[in-house]
Amino acid sequence: MTMIGWLQIILFCVIIVALAKPLGWYMTRVFNGERTFLSPVLRPIEAGIYWFSGVDEKREQHWLTYTVAILLFHVGGFLIIYGVMRLQAVLPFNPAGQGAVAEDLSFNTAISFITNTNWQNYGGESTLSYLVQMLGLTHQNFLSAATGIALAVALIRGFSRASARTVGNFWVDVTRTTLYVLLPICVVYTLFLVWQGMPQTLGDYVEATTLEGAKQTIAVGPVASQVAIKMLGTNGGGFFNANAAHPFENPTALSNFIQMLSIFALGAALTNVFGRMVGNQRQGWAILSVMGVLFLAGVAVTYWAEANGTSTLHALGLTGGNMEGKEVRFGIVASSLFAVITTAASCGAVNAMHDSFTALGGMIPLINMQLGEIIVGGVGAGLYGMLLFVVLAIFVAGLMVGRTPEYVGKKIEAREVKMAMLAILVLPLMYLGWTAVGVVYPAAVASMANAGPHGFTEVLYAFTSATGNNGSAFAGLTGNTLFYNLTLASAMFVGRFFMIVPAMAIAGSLAAKKSIAPSAGTFPTTGGLFVGLVVGVILIIGGLTFFPALALGPIVEHLAMNAGNLF
């Protein structure tokens, strides 16, 4: 670890905190339907879209209707992606002449993109046409992110409204998020990325003759426009197989730094939106503090482990940390930081191969996802995941003093706690259950690339990532098989919808409640005690759920490595 490394990490944190307030202010205006500086241009387009689509923007929806709208939107998105992938051979924008994508791979990828997972069983440049990249993947990068944000906003309305029957209008929320938040940022961001060296072309792959006379086919494409939303929407599905490690998908140290910022920017700002909408910004800062504590602890461990290297490297006298699977322009610190960021949020883009990380360095991304990516989280997904833990923490606090727990003026009762527990318990069932199947079913075992405990971690990582809708991978695992295409799709599906539906049920139930004024017996939820309590609840629930699995994977691998065992 070096001073300059820590300076990069601190600079990152400072900018994220500084961005939270102005972005939160702007986004709150957008979600409340107020005027913004973009309204003169965008308002006519927005009104035209509602008119054409038959949306009455004044009419709000009950939480059930809102949820149904979300589900219908997903179904449509699935059909579009699946259709374009199966038909890509006969559709335009296919200069590399890619054939139809197989049924199971199309199914997996369609589920993967509508759930904001963006798991890559496909190899971008070797499988997909430009049309699929744009119409299939780029569009769903926008819409699955907008859906996540809409959902978080609906949940926030549940906390902020009193005796209300409705939680907003999904169609309006998703349209406004896309038009006013995601698109304008992406337009500027795309140009920045091209300036840094990212291609944006519909031309053919380039045939080059290298200095030594060999042929090199260089894949290009409309990369920048997709990468912009891939990072901003915490989607993470790469244009290229190697994702953000590919020099075209992340050309410079600066493009890397901005990409890291854009993963966290909207998620962190949503905590501020929460504070504003419940009428006290300190509530938002308290939640951001919980996230910050968990995040910095993770960064410290991964950075230390990667800088320290492995016993194999030490034995050969190689110093400078574990550079296997990392790029020189990023080095140890930017690779470690990126890995923690991408899994703290539900992004899943990678700028280094997590499979080649040290045992402990690779364990932190795994833990981040198993906690439910509540540290900043995906756009929206992190906030509603975190609020579920807050509900539990408040409930625990209430039990300790024997009072009905309350949070931002709402009583937290049996229904909310049940729904929060449902969401939190279903996820481990998916990733632990499928991992158990994956390590004994012969066709699945054959997919492991590494032997020993590392192979186990590959499987555990895959199902954790799918369930958490993250999408990063221990990429040695051969995921493009019938078994993994189907099981991972089921994990992604459950991971998305068994979060969405309980979260929406909580939103509806909270919105209907009366708001109560804080009294002397109210547990203050803006101070250090609250932050410590939530961190504690997260770590205890997490520790009880997945510590045994971690012991079988990364922990035993670390001990084996120190003992000099190879597999």
Partner: protein, 201 residues
């Protein structure tokens, strides 16, 4: 509920056209006009022919060139399309080795490469980036130490003084952005092009 059906179809299609077609197709000519070379992939031409991209590494095996990092990229086996074969710096199929910290295959590969490099230059420590594969398999850069490490070999193969090469490496070294972001590095293709130019004089 029924009145949600129309937006579910029409709004989805409208937003799909905006974000999936209008946005990328509009950004392409704008980016192409503002940054013509970069939007096409930062291609480098020599004598009218494309020799590569400034951002994409390529394989160098000849002693008279500086070498990049090992690359783990693959290509379909020409004899059996269900299998793959090693194809270093395949810029149409990026990827890493994905070998873990306790992998025996990785340990064996590292040992072999380290031994080979020690035979080439026994005066300096072997730089770690010169024996580890990159994440993309297309890393265009090596560390300044890795470039300096290769100076004796290249000098011998080209019959050039080592000092000239050391200066060449020093002038090809890029530092951290603002002294803070990223790592010091040398672009291998740029270095070798400069080397060819100097040698031709």
């Amino acid at each position: 509920m029924l009145r949600e059906i129309r937006p579910a179809i029409v709004l989805l299609l409208v937003l799909t056209v905006i974000t999936g077609l209008a946005y990328p197709l509009a950004m392409t000519p704008i980016a192409g006009a503002l940054f013509p070379a970069r939007a096409q992939g930062s291609l480098i031409e020599k004598d009218g022919k494309v020799v590569g991209s400034a951002l994409i590494g390529q394989e160098f095996k000849d002693d008279k060139y500086f070498h990049g990092r090992p690359s783990a990229t693959l290509a379909p086996d020409p004899n059996d399309s269900t299998k793959t074969v090693p194809a270093p710096y395949n810029a149409a199929n990026s990827g890493g080795s994905n070998l873990g910290p306790t992998s025996k295959a990785l340990a064996d590969r590292l040992k072999e490469d380290v031994d080979k490099l020690r035979g080439e230059n026994s005066n300096a420590a072997v730089p770690v980036d010169l024996v580890t594969t990159s994440a993309s398999g297309l890393d265009p850069d090596i560390s300044p130490e890795a470039a300096q490490f290769q100076v004796p070999r290249v000098a011998k193969a080209r019959n050039m003084p080592e000092d000239t090469l050391k200066q060449l490496v020093a002038s090809a070294t890029q530092g951290r952005l603002l002294g803070l972001l990223g790592e010091p590095r040398v672009n291998v293709l740029a270095l070798n092009l400069a080397l060819d130019r100097v040698a031709a004089k």
